[in-house]
Subunit: 799 residues, 2 copies
Amino acid sequence: MANITKKVSWSSRADESGATGEGTPLLNGSEQPRHSRQLSGGGNIFQIGRLSTVDLEEEMASDEQDSLSRRPKEIPHNEKLLSLKYESLDYDNIENQLFLEEERRMSHMGFRCLEISRWVVCGLIGFLTGLIACFIDIAVEELAGVKYQVVKENIEKFTEVGGLSISLILWVVLNAAITMLGAIIVAFFEPIAAGSGIPQIKCYLNGVKVPRVVRLKTLMVKVAGVICSVVGGLAVGKEGPMIHSGAVVAAGVSQGRSTSLKRDFKIFEYFRRDTEKRDFVSAGAAAGVSAAFGAPVGGVLFSLEEGASFWNQMLTWRIFFASMISTFTLNFFLSIYHNKPGQLSSPGLINFGRFESDTTYNLYEIPLFIAMGAIGGLLGALFNVLNYWLTIFRIRYVHRPCLQVMEAMLVAAVTATVSFTMIYFSDDCQPLGPDHTEEYPLQLFCADGEYNSMATAFFNTPERSVRSLFHNQPGSYNPLTLGLFTLTYFFLACWTYGLAVSAGVFIPSLLIGAAWGRLFGILLASITSSSSIWADPGKYALIGAAAQLGGIVRMTLSLTVIMVEATGNVTYGFPIMLVLMTAKIVGDYFVEGLYDIHIKLQSVPFLHWDAPATSHWLTAREVMGSPVTCLNRIEKVGTIVDILSNTSTNHNGFPVVVQVTDSDEPPKLCGLILRSQLIVLLKHKVFVELARSRLTQRKLQLKDFRDAYPRFPPIQSIHVSQDERECMMDLTEFMNATPYTVPQETSLPRVFKLFRALGLRHLVVVDDENRVVGLVTRKDLARYHLGKHGLEELQLAQT
Amino acid sequence: MANITKKVSWSSRADESGATGEGTPLLNGSEQPRHSRQLSGGGNIFQIGRLSTVDLEEEMASDEQDSLSRRPKEIPHNEKLLSLKYESLDYDNIENQLFLEEERRMSHMGFRCLEISRWVVCGLIGFLTGLIACFIDIAVEELAGVKYQVVKENIEKFTEVGGLSISLILWVVLNAAITMLGAIIVAFFEPIAAGSGIPQIKCYLNGVKVPRVVRLKTLMVKVAGVICSVVGGLAVGKEGPMIHSGAVVAAGVSQGRSTSLKRDFKIFEYFRRDTEKRDFVSAGAAAGVSAAFGAPVGGVLFSLEEGASFWNQMLTWRIFFASMISTFTLNFFLSIYHNKPGQLSSPGLINFGRFESDTTYNLYEIPLFIAMGAIGGLLGALFNVLNYWLTIFRIRYVHRPCLQVMEAMLVAAVTATVSFTMIYFSDDCQPLGPDHTEEYPLQLFCADGEYNSMATAFFNTPERSVRSLFHNQPGSYNPLTLGLFTLTYFFLACWTYGLAVSAGVFIPSLLIGAAWGRLFGILLASITSSSSIWADPGKYALIGAAAQLGGIVRMTLSLTVIMVEATGNVTYGFPIMLVLMTAKIVGDYFVEGLYDIHIKLQSVPFLHWDAPATSHWLTAREVMGSPVTCLNRIEKVGTIVDILSNTSTNHNGFPVVVQVTDSDEPPKLCGLILRSQLIVLLKHKVFVELARSRLTQRKLQLKDFRDAYPRFPPIQSIHVSQDERECMMDLTEFMNATPYTVPQETSLPRVFKLFRALGLRHLVVVDDENRVVGLVTRKDLARYHLGKHGLEELQLAQT
């Protein structure tokens, strides 16, 4: 089963460093008698799982809970697992002597230059992200235009002579073929590019190293994939992937080189570490949001809400700069594309159209909005639960790439068929006004000068459908059309999310919400029969869209701002906030947000904002891993190689200890060194004996570590001869001499706060003599979570 | 001199705990040989000042720098001082046994209830802040209406018959009288209520305990004061004080009691500690911004930008809720006041009016905007420098309350006189349209059906003037009027800020900027003589307003969002951002922002976002205070009383150490205890001997500490008999058993990051045997700052 999980996981490459766990300090951990400890605290049932790599089925049988047994047997509950596959990023600077020397050498001017280059990088990130958004937009526009034109002409031809089934087949084949293309590149070349990428970026910003997530290849597959899936007529949006694209651009630009293309521009070398890179990736994600929705402030808030634990004014301002540049670039190039150069009217990929300021809301509508928020929360929870089951099914049965491609094609075919059927059987004809906004009005069996209203919703890119639901004149849709559309699109969108195609869930959610929102507005008008008050169903479409999106993704502040910016109108800020809040509260009662579900299903050790509230009775002593593999300050090369080669433990961080000479006291903590550093040291053969013999040898510099970042070679690739094994290595200069430490009695929330606020990777636990007694890593903290029955502990597994 | 500083400082009450310094651990610090150490690092001149309480004049003579000597001699450079008067807030939970026991007892449900009450409190904060804003708005509107009506009628009467000097006298007397009222309550009753309150709130959120800043009395004086100063016709706004008011409301509501009114509602007791209170004060400040500008998102960003170092999603969402409720409340009640109930059209105190969406900008205007940003930066820097000199002058010579009242009256009189003169000599007559927006059009010597254009700017509340500059038809003002207005108002506003009246600087800044911005627009049109392109001077007024405000206060992201929300139009987001960025860069080249200048002049130990970039060569060893006064875990009462009574040191935090029995090793760190906790223990006589004798004695609970919070009695008020002095106190249960520690070699940036990210008050420095060697407090970190010549060290002084 663990094997199955691996197949479809975000990082399914076998050549990846996938098998290395995050610094598990448990040298003999799995042998420890920690099986099914039962502790009861504060009246809560508390499950301490086993720390083991044994088969999951066995686990299941032993601690199956009554709440779990109610669910179908065949679904494996692997959201109760925490994968040891994911490594952590290290947002804490490694302050070793080399680093301090460099910093001390740098003048005031040097720091100013660095600051300027940070701004330049952010500008570049914004510019490139905007360009990519522009490319996606134009490609989708052109290709979808060709497709819809072909199908429309075909339908019109066959409407007269009969035999519309041929049109159906044409549509289905076109959709399936385009989707297949998109699915093939994703499933076979870069599986991490599937989906919207938002969960992956959330994880990255949270500090989890999701393999291959910010590579150039991922970006290219993502961009090509999203064009294919939107043009392929799936119920998807092109907005979510922009966030991932922006992040990849940022990770690339900020490093001043491309490892994939083997080009090193020798610039921005200072930024080649996790701390700096994370900041740029935040900016990239913000620029992506900004380009997607024309919402620069929303982008900044998105990055902050999802990522940054430490708020820094200058950083935020830089992120905002990147966002602004991004939306400006997009706007500028699109204005040229639309032949209106200089008229900056399309700040984002999706344009909600302007809500006029005179369409305001009244006090008595607020309860209605809250009710709509509750509906959105319920529908969102339903969406998430269905998608959860579907994802479990996919994990179990649809894990081979060719199966994934076939599933994507099936969905594309079904989407086209259902759309066609709905349009075919709909008799909702609307007059085609002189200034109609419909791009591809289908006449079908309507009278001349009229068009099929169902086709506006189905026979269109989802962005246009949303806009027409928001802005079309009252009466453009009849209630039956909207109801049927909501129903079918809901299930189509739910089925689509999680396919091996690159696609976002924002637009489908908005579309579902806009449809039932508009329906709500129309029904309201017909019930109260005072059409003057409820004149504008578009307003309800907007509120419904917000409610549905909020119910699915559960974003809060950033989503409010994104919606406000996308509508270009601050009037609806208050109702949108109310609706999102209600949707979140109602939805959270049932199930988590969609992104969190997918993060959980990948068993990612994700750290939330705070430790679980009821975890005060846990201390570092219980949480930490121990015993810890420590290194001496001057250590034998052979020992280091052996420790690094030990695949059963795969530690990534090692406390360095020092023994006071001529004393039998236990050794004391004096530093912390990472696997990656040791690898570089071994590669450059920084041995005490060699340094003595070859006095002219170049001293190892920070540059050597930066050149190796971030793809450090595995230990197996480094050859150490038998003679060299007997040499000694002096770690003093390279270790972080002042790692953060906590005493054993520190409560879990306190440890958590320190770890989260500083973005740590390893936290050393010491006793009152400053001896190392344990090591806290991400998985130690992430494994405690608040379940329905109080605090639960997730199982750790080498998936 | 130090005495003078104290007189006009934010907390000038002698009865205040003003004399207690923040936990200086230097028992004999002032005797230490630290005088004028000269170290040179990285080519920078580095000044290590003396840690002393000696007279400043002596100091000055010894380390006067060439850069300083260029300035006039009589101005004391006391921005190079750091006051020991200010205590720190403690955002780190005191995790002692009592606290942990309480947390462990609390069920999951209990935490949920807490969370709900947090929301309720935030809702209340928003509601009350909105109400206060509403009250201020209506009071100003009504009173200013009466005043302007009286003066207008008088002027009209005397325009015909001659003898306008009587009108002038009437106006001057009215203004001076009203201003006097406002100045008296501020100067005599609550000096902390002077100014906008934003610097004080910045300090509070930064973690500095500014005495009396969040008291009920302060709020009342603030509200009454701001009404008087706006009605008194000063060049001030009523927006800044709203932020302070919101913060006071928050601090009051969240504690569930009023110490001033001696009422305890026995609710929200859990929130009676710095950590929780800070969060609510952030919400209050945000609600204040939101009510002032109708900018809920801007409010959230303001709070985050100025305060929170640790971003928490739920907290932000709550802050946003408070902001939304606040603007909604204001909007609702104002709509009733304006007799249009339910029409929510005034979300803030200032209403910029709606910028129509068709007035967009063109690409070629962007360089112009950047140029305007530079002008704004220059003018802002000039404003700040002038105000800085003025403030120094005030500190030296205008420190007696009656002098302060007289200065305020003088400014009011001069303002009225200047305004009158300007209006009198202006011959800019404009036709009075049928739908004129001028509230009090002055005809003066204009023809019938016309009004004096200068009067629109001067004879009006500043908010209305801003609006008319933004929106009046092209041609409403002639360039000379605008030029003269800019010039006079610039100096008036500069003179006014810092008076002993409660008033904000936002609106005057916007007004100055709007005036020269509009002038810029008009000149542009006349130079290029193509009036069609530069048709709208209102747009330039907006950009100018942003540039000027940005140049003065140097806020970034939050100001952009505030401006966008206040204009109700996202179109100008990009130019406003560019302008603010340029203004900040240009302005920062010359001098800091206005608020930072005032914070510095008060010698507040303010922590910036990061440690100075070039401070890597300083370590905890150099920064920390030592030796440290430690307590034993079981300590004699007499010793504790003596330590607490020692006024020469006034420590606030004490590391607790334990001696390993039957060993001669030095004692090891086992906890940290605060002065306030010791005071409570002494007050309740928690002595080991008493506990033994009276077995039934009630155990001390967290409630006892909470009841005493935040006004702990001074040690002098606690009577300890001679017998009791011989008793012992067991601190085990009460001390924080797991204080954060750092080794001595930790670099300053690393110490800073830990301190700032976790909001610490005391950070214990230990050696590798876990023995206490020093203590880092706020002043130790705040005293290093980046000056023109590299890293500088501020002097510490008992002001």
